[in-house]
Structures are given as C-alpha cells and as structure tokens.
Amino acid sequence: MLALRDLAISAAGRAITTGTSLDIARGETIAIVGESGSGKSLTAKAIARLLPPGVSATGRVTYDGTDLLALPEREMQQIRGSRLSLMLQDPFTMLNPLMKSGLHIAEMLRDRPEFRDRAALKAEVARRLTEVGITDPDVAERMPFQLSGGMSQRISLAAALARDPELLIADEPSTALDVTTQAEIIKLLKRVQQSRGMSLVLITHNLRLAFSACDRIYVLYAGSLLEVGTARAVEADPFHPYTLGLLLSEPPADKRVPKLIAIRGKVPGADEVAGRCVFSDRCDWAKEICRVAAPALAELAPGRLTACIRRSEIAAEMQALRGSALAPSDPPQPPDRGIQPIVRTANLVKTFAGRHGRAVEALKGVSIEVRPGESVGLVGESGSGKTTLGRSLVGLETPTNGRIEIGGYDASDFSAMTAVDRAATRRTIQMVFQDPYSTLNPRHSVRRSLSEAIGTIGRFPGSEIDSRIAELLREVGLPEHYAERRPSSLSGGERQRVAIARALSVNPKILVCDEPVSALDVSVQAQILNLFKRLQSELGLSYLFITHDLAVVRQIAERIYVLYLGEIVEHGSAEEVIGRPQHPYTKRLIDSIPH
C-alpha cells in the first residue's frame, strides 16, 4: 500500500537521512525505531509532505501507485487526513489552544453533506469521542488546557481519524505521557486499528514497545536504516549490533543486572558519519572494513535485512553477550537496620494554593527514610508529588506540615535553620535534575559551574580548585579538557554528567535524583545508570531515585516507595514491590511496562 524508495532528507545541504526504503501493506503495523537525530520524525513528515521550511526530500513515496512527492499540493491536501493521516508527537501542543476539543474533530467533518445539520454533527463528534475512549460528551466543550495529556492525545487521535484514513502515522504517540496512560493509548491505537482495518506506522524510540505492538520493525540510526524484520524475529535474534545494544540498554524490569550494557559514545548526526557504517564509531565489533564505505542493507533471510556486513562472523558473540548481559545479579545486601537514617520524613504535607481558591494537596502525609549507603526508589507518575518531595528535601520547597530530618538536623524549614546548620545540610544532600538541557547555566563554562559549587564549601586556592575539578570530571567519566566547554557543545548525557559532578563537588552523602535519565536517549540512559551505580559503590553514596520508570528503578534501588496522589501506597524491597505487588496502583504500573 505504501512504499518508500530511497527517501533521502536533507536540510541546508546537510544530509539528515540517507536513502530509506520501506513497505507497508494494508492492515499492517510497522514500527520505525530510532533515537534522537535518527530522522524518524522527519521521515514521517516527509511522507505526509509536511516537512518544515528548509528541509527537503528526494526519492519516491508511492501510495497505492501514486508518487506522493510528485503530486501538486492541492491533490496532496485531498490525501492528507482522508487517506493518510499523521499524528504528531506532543499532545500538549498538537491542539489549537484557542479551539474547543470537539471543534478539532468537527472541522474535519463539516464539509460532509450528512453532517450539515448541527445536531447530527454534534452526535457524530460524540460518537468519535467514544471510539477513542472518551465517554463523556461534555469533553467536546472543553478547551485543550483543561485536558490531561492522555485526553489530549485521544482528541488528537480522533481528529486524525475523523476522515477515516487508511493509514495512520503516529509519531511517538505515548512518549510525553505517564506510563499508565502510555499503555492505554497504545492499546487504544491497536483497538482502533483492528476495528477499522487501518495500517499503522508507529514511530518510537522504545524498542520494547515496538516489539509488543507491531508486526514489523525498521531500525533507524543517524539517518540510515540498520535493520528490518518482523518484530518476533528481531526480538529473538537481532542481526545488527546497534539493535542488540538498544535492546540491552533498556533496563529489564523483572530482574536487577550488575551492569547495563551501554553503548558508548553519543548519537551522531547523519552528516558526521557519512562514508562509513553509521554505527562504526560506537560499535564494539567495528573493523576497518566497516569504515571503508557505508554498508548497504542486505537480505540475510527472507524479510530480514541488516546493514551489518560482519553479521555472519559476529552472530555467535552477539548471542553470548545477550545471554550474559541478562544474567541476574545477586540481590543487594540490605544495610544494617541499626544505622540511623540519613534522611527521614515524617508525615510530610505540602499544600499549594491553587487557582480560584482550590488548594492542591501535593503531599498528604508522606513518611520515608533513606539509610547510609542505601538506594531508595520513589516511584510515581505526574501529580503523585514525587518532585515536590524531592524539592522539599533540598530546601527548594517548604512543607506545610510534618518533619524532615537530614543528617541529624531538623530540616523541615530551611529558612528557619541557622546558617551553619543549613550549610551543613547542603553538604549532606544535593539534587540532580531532570532536564539536562537546562540543568546547567548556558552562559557558564563547565569550569565556572563546578568552581562555584566547590566554592560553597569553602575558599580554596586556585590550584586546588583546578585539581578538584579535574578529579570530579574523571569521577563522572568526562575528559579533563571538558572543563573549558560550554553546555551548548555538550550532549544531553554529557550535560547530565556535569550536573552530577556539580552535585558531588560538595561531597554529599545522599543524592536526590529527580528523573535524571528520562530525557536522555535510551543508549545514553544505560551509561548514566551505570555511572550512578559505580559512584555508589566507590563513594558510598545513598540515593533517593525519583522516577516513573519501574525498569530503571529496579536497576538502581534496593527499596522502593510507590507514591500515588500524594500518599505512599506501597513500600518494600525492589523484588517484593515489582515481583509481588500488593496495591492495585502498583499492579497497574507494572502492567503498563510493554512486554
């Protein structure tokens, strides 16, 4: 039905993707899997001829025999929405903020004669809403800012489906959503696809999701297709080292492994790796032959393509690596119960004054503790209060009620502490933030940021500061010369490492990590998680690891608290909570992990 041949996208003379070829039949679900910079989103836009200005595509995109790239715009407009529909990434900005939700659907149906009548149109909109799981017709009257992420996504889906297209391209449909909502949206997509007999192209960075939801997979990296095959076959035995690396980078939720297999280095742009195998810089099996020219996709088995020219040689090694990487490690030693906790909260309450007098109770009496050397996970979705809790522990929020004890000091209200106590507390607990792109001052070099942090614990001569900076950078796995760099020249993973170095510069005993890897590429996530583990064993650090991702927390934490709407609903060791969940919310969280 849809066939891409040598679709190459470029902008300002620089290649973004090299020739991509793809096929999809009626009723099929395929996944285009890739990390940032792979070109997957732009490929989707190129199919729908919605590339941003300055970006162009060459090649052929054949839809039922018609070459879409050659069509005049007016004819393309007929096809968009009614035969081929594109659902974009971010549910919060996909909808027109000035238009009611129902109108987004209605405007697609207005020109149909059967819906001339207002009442008929309204009824149809309501019917469409139920199709996407919204049973309350009043939702159509709401404005986008009044909708949750999941509902916005459903409205966008309904609008995309309004003209009954035969093919839907969904670009990261669930990424910006909570884990439980993600699972619901994917289930919804599959249900809608089945009932309509639609074809679905799912664009995602989550390999597990692709395996569970799709028939066939296309793996895209730095603008080139590296592997193609059925989901089952690729999952059982990936043919390309990158696919294997991606698979192993995703932390398993069912067991704790001693070290995640991370792909070293960072994701390049397509033009940086032209003329050779795009993955060769990061590949452990790369040889000279891989760097001579970009290998073409070869069909090694029916329907199974791979761009790795060394496949036959390294197949056995790849299998061995996979086996060893997933061998579980021994459960971590629980720390001696007699030791005083470093951090303890008792019945912590935080209420925010909301709009129109409606107060928001972010925390409703939360009691947790973290002991020296221990790694504790705090799991919850958005709105659970986990970020508020983390911020309260480092003094960025002041709780309305309850007690916080850090390192023996009463830290319930940072502004009420004496300056000496406050400084001591700040040397005990520090925080690592979520977004690597704004966690560092963009105008300060790495050296400046780290010197300032070091300066908060005392005045040191310049030479000592320099050596301490070098030491910190080494500790987080960055070369010393990175000290002169500004954040804009660092990748997300590198910025996060600098942020960790900054937190470590005061020699804290415990780090509060608020979703530190969520905004990173999967292959980089594993690197940072390994770093956290190494730091813990080398420096005896404790962690309060805040995340929504159970698989991530499984690898880091010994004990887990599950937070839901401001209350702890479950607590226990990592094995207990994930293996034998008691509370229905925990069970829902675990069921949401794609498998």
Partner: protein
C-alpha cells in the same frame, strides 16, 4: 508535578544565517552617524555657526552642497554636527533606562511578592502617563532644556524596560540551573547577577537599541518644540523648526535633517528587531 519531557532534542539543523542586506545598510547608516558625531569638525565643510546674513537662504550649490538656511549657515555642516546631539542624548537615555530597569526588573522578577507588586504598580502608573506630554510639561516648567529632557525620558523609558527585564527573569527563574544554585546555597545576589543577568542580557540589549530609536525621535520632537537644545545648536529636530519656513526656497534644509532622523531611527529599529530575533531563536 513532573515536567513535560522532550525526548533528547534532535540534532538541530540551524544554518548560519547571513545578515540580511537591509540590516547591513542599517549598520552602515548608523556607522555614518557615529562618525559624523565624533569627527564632525573634521568632516564638515564649514562651521555650523557662521552666519551669512546677506546671502540668506539659497538652494544647494557647489559651495554649499545642501544650501544654506535663513541665517546663511551651511546646512550640510549643521546636519553633520547635528549627529552629535542625535547620538549622545538617546544613548544616555537608553543606557540610563537600561541600567535602572535591569536592577528593578531583576529584583521584581526574582524576589516576587511585595517587592514585585510595588515595582509593577509603579510601572503601571508610569505607563499610564502620556510620555511626550509629560516631557513637555516638565521641561517647560523646570527649564534646563536638553538634559532635563534626557532625564525625563530616562525615567519614562525605565518603566516598559522594567517589564521586559522582569519577564525575561521570570523565564529563567524556574529553570533547574537556578534550582541547583539555590540547592547549593549560592547567595541571592550571586544568583541574580552571575546566573540570571547574563542569560537575560541579550534580550535586554535588543530592546535597548529600540529605546535609542524612540529617544531620538522624542528628543528631536522636543527640540522642534523649542524645549530641547538651545536655539542655535546644530540639531536635527531644531533644524526642522528653524527651516520649516524656507521649505520652498531651500527644501533640502528641511528635508535633510528630517531624513536623517527617520533613517537613523529606522536603522536602529531594524537592528534592534534583528538582534531580538537572533537572541530568541534559541
């Protein structure tokens, strides 16, 4: 509440944009004005003050490239020398307003609460005043001409600039790098001046350039009304007043200073807009 999360930003393709031709021209015009302001004495063919009452106003000729005005003074020399008051006053206004607005905006944006309310209510009040009218009244009452006008304009311009600084500060304040500095115990003053200020400076500078253009037009207007420079000073606004009667004998005497005011103001506006677009393109 957790942030909406982007999957790691794609490797953006931000091509290095060339400077548009219009902006290049704008820079050239401003450069000419600056040169005239500082080296007017060397460039001008004649003294701007020498009167030739017998000659009176004549149209352009080989001797007087822009003709003479009512008192026989060389128009071209007066225009060249006029670049000085066209530059100095507006620069002082822009710099003064910028300095005060930056401090007020930083405090207002970061500290919030009562400080913010107080400053913003003052801004609201100032914005409600009709600027040029206030300037006219004050200069008329207090006297003092040019520098009184400059002072009044500084006070008037501070208000909208404060709002702009404040909103730029509000944009930076919730960012994690500020949180990190707070968590480390960095002092408020340091956070304001070492962390926030460098990040809001580019946007403020773009607005400062626009302030210059506004101030130029306002000061020229005040001079036209006789409330700015001393009569006799070579100043574009003043020349508009002096030479309006000789529109038909030597139109250049009126049109040239008018054109200079317009060209300079428009150039600064274009440059300011371009700077602003560049700095916010992040």
């Amino acid at each position: 509440m957790s942030l909406h999360v982007d999957i790691a930003r794609p490797k953006g393709v931000t091509p290095r944009t060339a400077i548009p031709a219009a902006i290049v021209i704008a820079f050239i015009i401003v450069a000419i004005v600056v040169i005239c302001a500082f080296f007017g004495g060397s460039i001008a063919p004649d003294s701007p003050f020498t009167q030739r009452l017998q000659v009176g106003d004549v149209p352009p000729s080989a001797e007087f490239l822009a003709g003479t005005d009512l008192l026989g003074r060389d128009v071209l020399s007066r225009v060249i020398h006029g670049a000085w008051t066209a530059l100095v006053g507006p620069v002082v206004v822009a710099a003064g307003a910028f300095a005060i607005a930056t401090v007020l905006g930083l405090l207002s944006g970061y500290l919030g609460g009562a400080v913010d309310s107080a400053i913003m209510r003052w801004v609201d009040f100032m914005l409600a005043l009709p600027g040029p009218l206030v300037a006219i009244v004050v200069v008329g009452v207090v006297g003092g001409g040019y520098w009184t006008a400059v002072t009044v304009l500084i006070i008037l311009f501070t208000a909208p600039d404060t709002r702009i600084v404040r909103s730029a500060v509000l944009e930076q304040r919730p960012r994690p790098y500020i949180d990190a500095a707070r968590a480390l115990g960095v002092s408020k003053a340091r956070i304001l001046f070492i962390h926030i200020l460098p990040n809001v400076l580019p946007i403020i500078l773009a607005y400062v350039v626009l302030d210059f253009a506004f101030a130029l037009v306002n000061l020229a207007g005040l001079s036209f009304l006789g409330l700015g420079v001393e009569p006799g000073t070579p100043d574009w606004g003043r020349m508009l007043f002096e030479n309006r009667t000789i529109l038909f004998t030597n139109p250049v005497a009126l049109l040239l200073p008018a054109a200079m005011v317009i060209l300079t103001a428009v150039s600064m506006n274009l440059i300011g807009d371009w700077l602003f677009a560049r700095f916010t393109r992040q």
